[in-house]
Each structure stands twice: as structure tokens, then as C-alpha cells.
């Protein structure tokens, strides 16, 4: 309408119209000196009126006073609706604020005084000096009328003053009752007016979130909970738990069980999980809950209270036990048409390198074959078929055995175990394939078969406990490689299960004086995995004793690092619970003390985003130490572990690591690529990719090696063409260096993991939940990578299989009410953060429409593109049960 903005023409509509006519004639130069005189007629009128009211208010006649106050209130209320600038009446009343204040002070107690207090409270909005909280003060002495009638801005200002007043009063320990009344009003007002975030903020300030429960309703509880859950990430403990508690209760109140379950899982509160099951009566929805629990990777037993019917319970337990995972994954693979097995050569794509690839050597290189074994295992993971290990044996050469024997000594362990990876999650077929290897007399092969059994059972629970039955016998065998195979297999198969039987068989090994160090190290690690995040005292004691019993020389060994790590895993994400153990660790031999300290700290605060801990760890990284100290590696990894949970902290951590890289000592620099790998696992951010690419050519070969492995980690399961290209070039750059080439091959295998259908990210459910077992698996590998030469390039390369704990299909598979896959159109796009946004904002952007099953990349979100079905979970990841929409009508 108006050709240009006029500085004076804000306010009501009538004024604007008038201004429009004036604009052309106005000279910009004149603007300054017309502030006073240039008031429009209307404004002048208003000003005169207000001045009159002010005078009248001071009139001794209460009638007149009242009329004046009423009129004044009318004027103010009429104008406060728009808040683009100071409203006219307030502006004109400014000069009289002092007078009115003075008059109010001397007024006798009466309704009129309250009325005036109300008006003063509003005037204080613009007049009150910082920190005086006059607005609040007058409000409290005022008439307690409808708070919203004075407009949003007034309420917001009041809320701010309440928060300040609250802290002051807390300090003085004086009563806050009057404040709370006001809070009640304000919260009710905010909740009604789409300002849930402000209501939550105020309640957090006055530490009374319970009030929220009264005020949420169907229309606003989603936005409220959304805000609560994302705010929890930035709150210090134990406030965050409190906030989530409220969110949980709200979700339960509105029967939004999937979300409630999510929060229950986040809180790791099994009582809440149970409550979700008991509150919900719909069997189909319970099935969906089971899928969610199975994705989280925890062990959960359903009891008759949760599901009454035995048959139903068994079926639900099957879902929790992940027995259908393999089936679903293969459905996805068939739909995407990637069932065809791939060979390592298909991954290396040596033909794309011009002339650089060395001519095929006539003799087999044991190291290259080992690399091929791993690549084959990772790429064909879970598909049940490959071209090296599962090919049917020829009558003449017996080619099934052939590839196995193309690996040398301990390499055969990894080769046999790779069968477990190829048949991942398919316990029946996996055990069938592995069976024949149990009957050889070649110890490394038996060890591999044992490990393979563990891998096949990873994340799958079975009533018959085949892994325990098979592996249990081998724990105390003579040969230490066989023992390690069995122990590690158990650790992988029963991660997070807190299985007592295994504890009682593994604990004695820790304190067995005759057991070799490597067996002890793996036993500690497996116990850590099985009791991950449990804070189990007994296990902690055993590991602590084992650490104390180690001789000086043994403490210097590379594998010793698994002892503190095993201990740390017990406290994964459990924050303060670690303190007692951390105290004990201070008494350890100084060679391991700091290492242990850092590991415990980083594990305990993993995924919390605790800024103070990040600073502690950063300080450790900044120190320049004498030679021989090795605790900075875990400190750098810890930095990533703590910061990885939430986007903002993650970006900050990446930037800090950049600094650490520039100023840190060599042993710090070696860990930095690994930390970057953890931060962006299966999430190839271009900036991180570039940093790692630069580091992969570092003069220090260990920095280069960790950078290469990390390139694999950030691209894990993405088939990212850019990383694949980088690695291909690296393979020709390092074609002469067997160790680096090995790393390049492993990274290539990781990038094409599961032919691009898998992810290693421990986060799921829109990055809210962190699967503890998945994180444990990744962290273990990273700790092993801190001393690449003696562990992964040595004879313990099979620690690479710990990654299986984190491997999950990055899919969304829709199933119907009978759990049969159905195909529906979905939109997949980049997720948009909608926290705190009003209305019903779009949750994805730049979407494409596919039909399920679909793959979801990092940061992507799906939504159904049809109204025909209703998903039983709002978080469209993994298995989603669809229910037919009864209101749907064909168009």
C-alpha cells in the first residue's frame, strides 16, 4: 500500500492511511525536526486525551479518577495488539510515568489503587530500569485481572521478571506463592496462544514443570514435548531427566505411546517401558513397540502383565528378539535389487585406475587376501551369499575351503568368522554353514568359527541360546586363539544382555594368574560389552583386580588397553555413577592410571554432550607430554564420544579438533582422525571428508592410517562416490605400502558395507536414541585403532568385527497388520528442525517420492505420501506397521 516506510506512521490503520497521502510531499531532511510538532491530528488528540486522563487520575474525586483510569486502560489495551514499535499511548504516557508512580505511592488502598497499579505495571514495560522488576511489582499489587488483556509483549516481559524475581527469592528463601499464581496465569495464557516454548521456559526457570501437565491439551502437547525433548539436550543433569520425565508423562497422558516409549528408552527406564506396554491395549501397537525396542538393541523380556495372551507374547518376544531382522533386510535387498554377491575386485574397481595398479602378482599376498576377506565380509554382510566363502564346494578342488586357506595362520580366524558376517542375523543358516569348521584340528579356524557364531547371533536372541551352548565349551580350552574366539563371540552375541551365566564363566578368567594377557584382555572387553551401561559392581571389581594384577611389562602391551575399556563400557552413558570406580582407578599403576581415567570419563559421559567434560578432555589434549604417556588418545576419542549426541556440540567438536590437529602432539594427532570418524560415522560431511582426505596423505603413517580408516567410517554403508574415489586413488598412491594399502582396503569395504544398505550410526529414531551396544562396538574398534600396528595390523585384526554391533539396516520397511511387507509411497527428504515453530511446519525438504522399502541416509526423514494408511509410529524408521485408515476414500 504505502510506497515507502514512514518512520512516524506505525500504529493503527487509520494513521497509516493518512501517512500514505503525505509521503510524496515529505522531504527527508525535514524528518528530524518534525518529531514533536508533526503529530497528526489524531495523535495530537490522543496525546491531549491522555494528558487529561493523567491529570484527572490525580483528581481527588474517585469517580473522576476511576473514569480516567478506565479510559486510560481502554486506550492502552486498544493499542497493545501490535508490537512493532512502542504503542502510541505508552509513548505519550512516558513523561507522566514518574507522576503516576508518585501518586500511586500516596494513594490509599482501594480498587482504584489496584487499577492504577495495573496501568503502571504496563507502563513499566517500557519505563522500568533494568533489574528493577517494577512491572512485576505493580502487577502483584494490582487487580489480578486477565493477564492476557494487556497483550503478548506484556506477558513475556512479566515472565522474564518472574524468572529473575524467582532466583532472588530462592536466594533469600522467601515465599514464592504469589509468584506461582502469576506463573499459573501466564502459562495458561501461553499454552492457549501457541507459545508453548515460552511457557516451558518460564516453568523451567521457576522449576515447576509439573504445572505443564494441567495445561497441555490435544492441540499443543506435541509441540510442547518436542520442545522439551530438544531442550533436554542442553540442560545440565539432573534437570534434563526431569524435563524428559514430564515429556514422558504428557505423551502417556495423550496416549502417544511410541513417543513415550522413545523417551523411556532414552531414560533407560525399564519401569516406564513396562508402563507403556501396560497402558496400551492395542496388540498391533505393541508390536510396533517391540520393533522399536529391537532397534535399540536392548534385551527385554515381556511378562504376562504386559501381554496377557501367551501366543501373542511369544510373537511379540520374537520381534523384540530381532528374529525377523534378516528377513526384513533381505526383503529390502531384493526390492533394491542388490542381492547379487560382490567380490572385493568389484569394490576395488582397479580398472578405473590408469596404469597405477600393480600387475596381478603371481603369488598370493597374505595381507591382501586378508583385506579381501574383510572387504568381502563387510560388503556381503547379511546377504547370505558371497563369492569367496559360501560358494558350494567343487568336487575337485573344494573351493569353499579354498579361500579360507588363502589366508595365513591367524588370518584364517578372520576368514572363518567372515562367514558369520555374511550370514549375519540368519542364525539357522549361519550355524549350518559354520558347523563344518568345528570339526577341523586347525585352531585358528575353530577360533574363527566360534567368533562367527557370535557374529551371526549379534543382536538376535534365541530361547535355545545356541551361541552360549556352542561357545561355552571352548572358553577354557588350551589354545588361547580358540579361547579368544569363543570369548569375543560371546561378547558380540550377548552384548547388553547382562547374562549371569556368561559372567560366571568369564569372570574367573580375569583373575586367573595363568591366563595369557590377550585372553584376559578379550575377557574384560566381552564382559564390558555384555554388561554395557549396567554399572555392575561385580564385573567392575573383577576387571579392577585384573588390572591391579598386571605386571609393569604387561601394562605396556597394546592389548592392555582393553581392560580399562571394558571397565569403561560398564558405565557407558551413566555419568556420575562412574565416580566410585574412577576413584579406585587413581590407585592404579601410573602407566595405566591416566589412560584408565580418560577412558572411564569418556565412556561415562558418552553421548551426553556435557560441555564441562568436553572442556576437561580438551585440556588434556592440549598438554604437551613426555614420551610414553598414551592417555591423550582416549581423551581425543572421548571428546568425540561426549560431543557426538547433538548437532551443535558436534560441529563445535569438529572445529576444536581442527585446532587440536594443528597444535597437538603426535599421539594426539593420531587420534584426531578417529575422533572425526566417530563424530560423523556413516554421515559423510564434506568438510570432514576433506580434512580426512588431507590427513590420509600425512607424513606420519599412523595419522594417515587412522585417517583412511576414518574415511571408511564416515562413509560406512553409504556407497559415497566421492569417498570411494578418494580411496581408489589412495590405493594406487599406497600400492607399495602393504600396511597402508590394507587400511585402504578395509575402508573401501566399509564404504560399501552391505552394498550400501547398512549404517554404523549408533543413533536412531531421529537421532534421539543412542544404542549402547552399537556405541560400545565402535568405541572398541577405535581404541584398537589407537595402536594400529600391534592390533589391527598385527594378529588381532578380527577386532574389526566388533563393528557388527553397530551394523543396522538404514531402511524404512512398511508392514501390514500381519507383519507382511507392503509397498506404499513415501516422501524421503532432508529433515527440518521444527522445534519451537508455530503451526504445522513441513518436516522435510527437498523430498523425493519412493515406494517402500526405502533407504534413509543420515539426516533424512520419511513421511507417508498416502492417506490410505496410518503408521503406528510417528518416527518412520526401521520396521513400521501400517494400519488402514478407516476414513480414507479413494479419489
Amino acid at each position: 500500500m504505502a510506497p515507502g516506510p514512514d518512520p512516524n506512521s506505525v500504529g493503527d490503520g487509520a494513521k497509516r492511511d493518512e501517512a500514505t497521502t503525505k509521503v510524496p510531499s515529505k522531504d527527508p531532511k525535514k524528518k528530524d525536526d518534525k518529531k514533536e510538532e508533526d503529530l497528526s491530528e489524531e495523535d495530537l488528540q490522543l496525546k491531549q486525551n491522555l494528558e487529561l486522563y493523567v491529570e484527572r487520575v490525580q483528581d481527588p474525586n474517585p469517580e473522576l479518577q476511576k473514569a480516567a483510569l478506565e479510559s486510560m486502560r481502554q486506550e492502552i489495551r486498544a493499542s497493545t495488539s501490535s508490537m512493532t514499535s512502542v504503542p502510541k499511548p505508552l509513548k505519550f504516557l512516558r513523561p507522566h510515568y514518574g507522576t503516576l508512580k508518585e501518586f500511586h505511592k500516596n494513594m490509599a488502598e482501594s480498587d482504584l489503587k489496584k487499577l492504577l497499579a495495573d496501568i503502571l505495571s504496563v507502563l513499566a514495560l517500557t519505563m522500568s530500569a533494568e533489574g528493577e522488576r517494577e512491572s512485576l511489582g505493580y502487577r502483584l499489587t494490582g487487580s489480578e485481572g486477565d493477564i492476557g488483556s494487556w497483550g503478548h509483549e506484556y506477558v513475556r516481559n512479566l515472565a522474564g521478571e518472574i524468572a529473575e524475581e524467582y532466583t532472588v527469592r530462592q536466594g533469600e528463601e522467601s515465599s514464592i506463592e504469589d509468584l506461582m499464581d502469576l506463573v499459573q496465569q501466564i502459562v495458561a495464557f501461553h499454552m492457549k496462544h501457541n507459545a508453548e516454548t515460552e511457557a516451558v521456559d518460564l516453568l523451567m526457570d521457576v522449576e515447576d514443570l509439573d504445572l505443564l501437565l494441567e495445561h497441555v491439551d490435544r492441540t499443543n502437547f506435541r509441540r510442547t514435548c518436542n520442545y522439551l525433548t530438544s531442550a533436554a539436550k542442553y540442560l545440565p543433569g539432573p534437570d534434563d531427566m526431569l524435563v524428559l520425565d514430564i515429556a514422558y508423562m504428557i505423551y502417556i497422558k495423550f496416549e502417544e505411546y511410541p513417543n513415550a516409549l522413545q523417551i523411556a528408552l532414552f531414560l533407560d527406564n525399564m519401569q516406564y517401558v513396562k508402563q507403556v506396554f501396560t497402558s496400551c491395549t492395542d496388540l498391533l501397537r505393541k508390536k510396533q513397540f517391540c520393533y522399536m525396542i529391537s532397534r535399540h538393541g536392548i534385551t527385554f523380556e515381556l511378562d504376562p502383565e504386559m501381554v496377557e495372551n501367551d501366543v501373542d507374547r511369544e510373537m511379540l518376544q520374537d520381534i523384540v528378539n530381532n528374529t525377523k531382522l534378516s528377513e526384513g533386510y533381505l526383503t529390502l535387498a531384493r526390492d533394491i535389487e542388490v542381492m547379487e554377491a560382490k567380490t572385493p575386485e568389484d569394490i576395488y574397481k582397479a580398472h578405473l585406475l590408469d596404469g597405477r595398479a600393480s600387475s596381478g602378482p603371481s603369488a598370493d599376498s597374505a595381507r591382501q587376501n586378508l583385506a579381501a576377506t574383510f572387504v568381502n565380509a563387510f560388503v556381503n554382510a547379511g546377504f547370505g551369499q558371497d563369492k569367496l566363502m559360501t560358494v558350494p564346494s567343487d568336487s575337485t578342488s573344494g573351493s569353499a575351503g579354498n579361500w579360507l586357506f588363502k589366508n595365513k595362520e591367524h588370518g584364517k580366524t578372520s576368514a572363518a568368522a567372515s562367514l558369520g558376517m555374511i550370514l549375519l542375523w540368519d542364525v539357522d543358516a549361519g550355524l549350518t554353514h559354520l558347523d563344518k569348521y568345528f570339526h577341523t584340528n586347525d585352531n585358528p579356524i575353530i577360533a574363527g568359527a566360534l567368533l562367527g557364531v557370535g557374529i551371526v547371533n549379534c543382536g538376535i536372541k534365541n530361547d535355545c541360546d545356541p551361541a552360549l551352548a556352542l561357545l561355552g565349551e571352548y572358553i577354557d580350552k588350551e589354545d588361547s586363539s580358540v579361547r579368544i574366539g569363543a570369548i569375543m563371540g560371546l561378547g558380540i552375541a550377548y552384548a547388553g544382555s547382562q547374562n549371569d551365566q556368561i559372567k560366571s564363566s568369564l569372570s574367573p578368567i580375569l583373575n586367573d594368574a595363568k591366563a595369557p594377557l590377550d585372553v584376559i584382555a578379550f575377557a574384560a572387553l566381552s564382559l564390558g560389552m555384555i554388561y554395557v551401561g549396567s554399572c555392575n559392581e561385580e564385573v567392575a571389581q573383577s576387571i579392577i583386580f585384573a588390572l591391579m594384577d598386571r605386571s609393569e611389562a604387561e601394562l605396556g602391551e597394546a592389548l592392555t588397553r582393553f581392560l580399562p575399556l571394558g571397565l569403561g563400557l560398564l558405565y557407558l552413558g551413566k555419568q556420575e555413577s562412574v565416580e566410585a570406580t574412577a576413584e579406585v582407578s587413581k590407585t592404579f599403576n601410573e602407566k595405566i592410571r591416566k589412560y584408565c581415567d580418560m577412558t572411564l570419563l569418556s565412556c561415562a559421559y558418552a553421548g551426553t554432550g556435557n560441555v564441562l567434560k568436553v572442556q576437561d578432555l580438551l585440556a588434556q589434549c592440549g598438554e604437551h607430554l613426555e614420551k610414553g604417556d598414551n592417555h591423550q588418545g582416549p581423551a581425543v576419542l572421548g571428546l568425540a564420544m561426549v560431543a557426538m549426541s547433538e548437532e551443535l556440540g558436534l560441529d563445535m567438536a569438529i572445529r576444536s579438533l581442527e585446532r587440536v590437529l594443528q597444535y597437538g602432539e603426535q599421539n594426539v594427532r593420531r587420534a584426531v582422525p578417529l575422533a572425526l570418524g566417530l563424530l560423523c560415522i556413516s554421515n559423510p560431511k564434506v568438510t570432514v571428508m576433506d580434512t580426512l582426505s588431507r590427513l590420509s596423505h600425512d607424513t606420519d603413517s599412523e595419522v594417515a592410517m587412522s585417517a583412511i580408516i576414518s574415511l571408511g567410517l564416515i562413509g560406512a554403508g553409504t556407497n559415497n562416490a566421492r569417498i570411494a574415489g578418494m580411496l581408489r586413488n589412495l590405493s594406487s598412491y599406497y600400492y607399495k605400502d602393504a600396511s597402508l594399502l590394507f587400511c585402504v582396503r578395509i575402508a573401501q569395504g566399509l564404504v560399501h558395507m552391505g552394498k550400501g544398505l547398512l549404517t554404523l550410526s549408533p543413533f536412531h529414531s531421529e537421532r534421539l536414541l543412542l544404542s549402547p551396544t552399537a556405541l560400545a562396538g565402535i568405541v572398541t574398534l577405535l581404541h584398537a585403532c589407537l595402536d594400529m600396528k600391534s592390533i589391527i595390523l598385527g594378529k588381532y585384526h578380527f577386532v574389526l568385527y566388533f563393528l557388527v554391533l553397530a551394523m543396522q539396516p538404514r531402511m524404512m520397511l512398511t508392514v501390514d497388520e500381519n507383519l507382511k511387507p507392503i509397498s506404499v509411497p513415501v516422501r524421503v527428504g532432508q529433515a527440518v528442525d521444527v522445534v519451537g515453530q508455530a503451526g504445522r511446519p513441513k518436516t522435510i525438504t527437498g523430498f523425493q517420492t519412493h515406494s517402500t522399502p526405502v533407504l534413509l541416509a543420515a539426516g533424512e526423514r520419511a513421511e507417508l505420501a498416502t492417506d490410505k494408511y496410518i503408521p503406528l509410529s510417528p518416527i518412520l524408521e526401521g520396521f513400521i506397521i501400517l494400519k488402514e485408515n478407516p476414513d480414507y476414500r479413494e479419489e
Binding site: P361, D364, N369, K408, K436, P466
Partner: protein
């Protein structure tokens, strides 16, 4: 009597009866009938582990209707292959070298890159290697002086070391004998040995070898080096003033590529290099007169060496200055038009044959009746195979094979390039680029061999500050008739 179901692989066997009074072995025998898995290979998971053959059913606590899981296959047990697999890592160092597909580099002993690159280029001639290995047998003849003998032996040893080693070889012995034989290479500057001209080193070394490798008994291939590298030139010397004309022949080890303003390509440079003016006393005029000398190639070597005359003595700066002009050279060089009439006649038939073969490779039919084309095809294929092989086998011109004799075609393939980087011959850096038998190009930068792409090799033609070709060597393409 208990009834259980047993899950085996993907199958479930329902309603199997267990008699708790009998040992589990009986139960396993039952399962053997169903699955074909022998009892000793059956693994049945029960609570607390595997079911033992002699266990007590009551202690295991199997309930009626329980689902048991059995693992086990009747598959053949894997056996290690009878012949153990040999891994590259286990091989001795020498054998590992062959797997790389190229030999080791040479350590720079202080400005010895000129020598290293020369050695690497010459080493790529297998015939020279075999001639050297025969040298031990023939031994030192009387007409070879002591230092030449020592240098020849040192060369042989060095070539041997290079073939055996994986890591860079230090050519100390060779260097010492080289300096003994040619004291000019011992020049010092600021206490360091000076950079030298690789061409000088090349020429001197080849000359020495040719002297010492001359067989004592005068047989046809008496001079092995000359047979490999020697080019016979027939020159027509013509005086324009007097009209006198004479002809002379000479033998050189390399052709020169003169670089002037008109020269953009190797071929032009070679032509330029074969023409010259000289002043000499004319018997007819009785005074010195200007003669024109035009040379043509009379016989072709197995290995044609071309030197780019990039350096000239610049009086102002008192050093060998470098011409940076870009002179292209091809991967395949045809010098037919530089040959003498006689030689051209000799070359025609083999060239025709070569053309036919190449045409056939490209799928063109030779002009002949359809009947005998089949025969010809097989013939030609056989011969092309032959010539393919012959390029890798030690063969000399005129050497006979079972199928026929090999003939020169006048066509040459590039096999090695010695490049120089820098502004004068006595400074800068020399590097050798050598084509391997596998067809791959390796850059030998002292102790660092690295793979190169073929298209990058022709980019060493100069025109900037990048490495530029100084001496290049072509290998003759032979055809059997």
C-alpha cells in the same frame, strides 16, 4: 515319555518322543534318521549348554512340548589343500622383486642422478644385459685395459643387483670404477662432486662397453654393442663450388636431433642433424671450400638412440646453456625417409608385411581371394604372435628363429627416455623413464621408482621447466618373414 519338537536349519520336526530312561544317544539316533546328521556331529542346545550323549534327561529339565535346536551338518569337513599356498610375504626378497613388475631404484650418491638415469636407461636393453652376463665367460682379453674391464664388471654387477633387490641399490662400486676410468666425473665443486652431463656419461659408458665386449675372436657379431646401437651412415659430401662429390661412411651410436627455430618435431630435428656443412680443402680448387654433407642411414640398429642437442656452450655465462624449445617425439617413430635407397628397398617387403598384419588386427581384409585368406590369416596370426614374442626375447637382427628370420621395418617403439630438468647440463636433475616388459612405464627418480601413464611420457617434450627429454631410445619393431 516326553514329546519335543526339534528345529534343524530351517526345518522343524514336530512330535519327537523322548524316553527319559534311555540315554540321549538314543534320541540322537532318532534325529539321525530324520536329518542324516551322524550323532557325533549333532549339537543339541539345551539349557546350560550342549546335550551330552550320556547326560541324564531329568537333570537337563526338558519339558514336554519344548522346542530344541539342533546344529550340525553332514557336510564334508574342510581340509587344508594338499599343496600349501605360498604367500608373497614368505618369499625371499629377490622373488618379491619380480612381483612388483619392475626393478629397484638407485641411491643418489651426491649429484649422481646423471649416472643413475643413464644406468636405468641402458639396463632396459635385455640384449645388453645378456651380453654382459656372457662377458664373465669370455673374460678379459688383452686388448682391453684394466679400468675398462673393471667398469664392465661393475656394470654387470650393478645390473644384477638391480634385478635382485626390492629396495634401492647403492651403486658405489660402479661409481668408483666409473670415476677411475673417466677422471672427469670426479670434478669437485665446493667439496661436492659436480653434476655431470648425462650424455657424456652415456657415450663414454657405451664406448667402454663396446670396447670390452668385443669378442677376441673375430666372428660376425663380434661387436655386440655396435650391433645393438650402431647406426651406419652413408654421407654424400658435395662441394657446390667445384662440383666435387665424394661419399663416405661412418658408424655412430646415436643420432642427433638438432634444435633450431624450424624444428618442432623429432623427425625434423633428425633430418636437420643429418645435413651439415663443413669446410675442407678442396683438391680441385686448391683451397678450403664449403662442402655440404648429406647423410642417410645405411643400416638400422636394434636400439636407436636419439640425443636432443639441447645444450650449447654459451660463452657469456661460461656454461652449457639449455634450449628449452618444445620438440615433440612420437611413441612410434618411422625413419624410412632417412634411410638410403638400398636400405629402403630392403625395408619395403617387411614393411608391407607389417602393414598387412596391422590391418588384420584392425579387422581389414587383405586383398586376396576368399579361399586362401583363411590360410593367410592363420599364418599372419602366427607370425604376429611371433613378432610379439620376439620383442621380449633376446633377438638380434638377422637372428633366425624357427618360423623365419626377423627383419627390420624402420619402425621403432619408444622404450626409454632420459630427461633433464633445470637450466644447464651441469646442474638440475636427471631422471630416467623406462618402459617395462609388462608395457608399463616406470619413472626412476634415483631411489624412487614410480608408475607413470604412457600419455605422460610424450609430455616430456620440453617447452617449460618440467622434465624434458634429453636422450631417448627406440626399439626396432621386427617382423618375421
Amino acid at each position: 515319555m516326553l514329546t519335543v519338537s526339534v528345529k534343524w536349519q530351517k526345518k522343524v520336526f514336530e512330535g519327537i518322543e523322548i524316553d527319559p530312561t534311555l540315554p540321549p544317544y538314543v534320541f540322537k539316533a532318532q534325529l539321525y534318521d530324520l536329518t542324516g546328521v551322524p550323532p557325533e556331529r549333532q549339537k543339541i542346545m539345551v539349557k546350560g549348554g550342549l546335550l551330552k550323549d550320556d547326560a541324564d534327561w531329568s537333570a537337563i529339565g526338558v519339558k514336554d512340548g519344548q522346542k530344541l535346536m539342533m546344529m550340525g551338518t553332514a557336510d564334508e569337513i574342510v581340509k587344508a589343500p594338499e599343496k600349501a599356498i605360498v604367500f608373497a610375504e614368505d618369499l625371499p626378497e629377490e622373488e618379491q622383486a619380480t612381483h612388483l613388475g619392475y626393478s629397484a631404484g638407485l641411491v643418489n650418491l651426491g649429484n649422481t642422478c646423471y649416472m643413475n638415469s643413464t644406468v636405468q636407461c641402458l639396463k632396459s636393453v635385455p640384449e645388453l644385459k645378456s651380453a654382459l652376463s656372457n662377458y664373465a665367460l669370455t673374460g678379459r682379453s688383452n686388448d682391453v685395459d684394466q679400468t675398462s674391464h673393471m667398469l664392465t664388471v661393475a656394470t654387470r654387477e650393478l645390473f644384477g643387483d638391480l634385478d635382485r633387490s626390492v629396495n634401492a641399490v647403492s651403486p658405489t662400486q660402479f661409481w668408483m670404477t666409473l670415476r677411475k676410468k673417466f677422471p672427469q666425473f670426479s670434478q669437485l665443486q665446493n667439496g661436492m662432486h659436480m653434476q655431470q652431463d648425462a650424455e657424456e656419461c652415456w657415450t663414454q659408458l657405451l664406448y667402454t662397453l663396446s670396447q670390452s665386449l668385443k669378442a677376441p675372436a673375430s666372428s660376425e657379431d663380434s661387436d655386440a654393442v655396435k650391433a645393438l646401437f650402431g647406426v651406419n651412415l652413408r654421407s654424400r659430401v658435395h662441394c657446390q663450388e667445384s662440383g666435387e662429390e665424394s661419399s663416405e661412411t661412418e658408424s655412430v651410436y646415436s643420432l642427433k636431433c638438432h634444435i633450431s627455430h624450424e624444428v618442432n618435431h623429432l623427425h625434423e630435428g633428425l633430418k636437420h642433424g643429418l645435413k651439415g656443412e663443413l669446410e675442407k680443402t678442396s683438391p680441385a680448387l686448391g683451397r678450403t671450400a664449403l662442402y655440404l654433407k648429406e647423410s642417410l642411414i645405411d643400416s638400422l640398429p636394434s636400439y636407436l638412440t636419439v640425443q636432443f642437442v639441447r645444450f650449447f656452450w654459451k660463452r657469456e655465462t661460461n656454461q652449457k646453456a639449455k634450449i628449452l624449445r618444445k620438440v615433440d617425439y612420437p611413441l612410434e617413430l618411422d625413419i624410412f625417409d632417412l634411410c638410403s635407397e638400398d636400405l629402403r628397398k630392403k625395408l619395403e617387403a617387411p614393411r608391407q608385411k607389417l602393414r598387412d598384419e596391422e590391418g588384420k588386427k584392425l579387422g581389414l581384409q587383405p586383398k586376396s581371394s576368399s579361399k586362401d585368406s583363411d590360410v593367410k590369416m592363420t599364418d599372419a596370426e602366427a607370425s604376429s604372435n611371433e613378432s610379439g614374442e620376439s620383442s621380449t626375447v633376446t633377438q638380434q637382427e638377422g637372428a633366425s628363429s624357427e618360423k623365419g628370420t626377423l627383419h627390420m621395418t624402420g619402425i621403432y617403439d619408444l622404450v626409454s627416455v632420459l630427461t633433464h630438468k633445470g637450466r644447464s647440463a651441469d646442474s638440475g636433475h636427471y631422471v630416467a623413464w623406462v618402459k617395462q616388459e609388462s608395457g608399463k612405464w616406470i619413472q626412476y627418480d634415483d631411489s624412487h621408482p614410480s608408475l607413470q601413464r604412457e600419455e605422460d611420457i610424450t609430455k616430456l617434450s620440453g617447452g617449460g621447466d618440467w622434465h624434458m627429454a634429453y636422450i631417448i631410445m627406440y626399439k626396432a619393431r621386427l617382423v618375421s618373414m
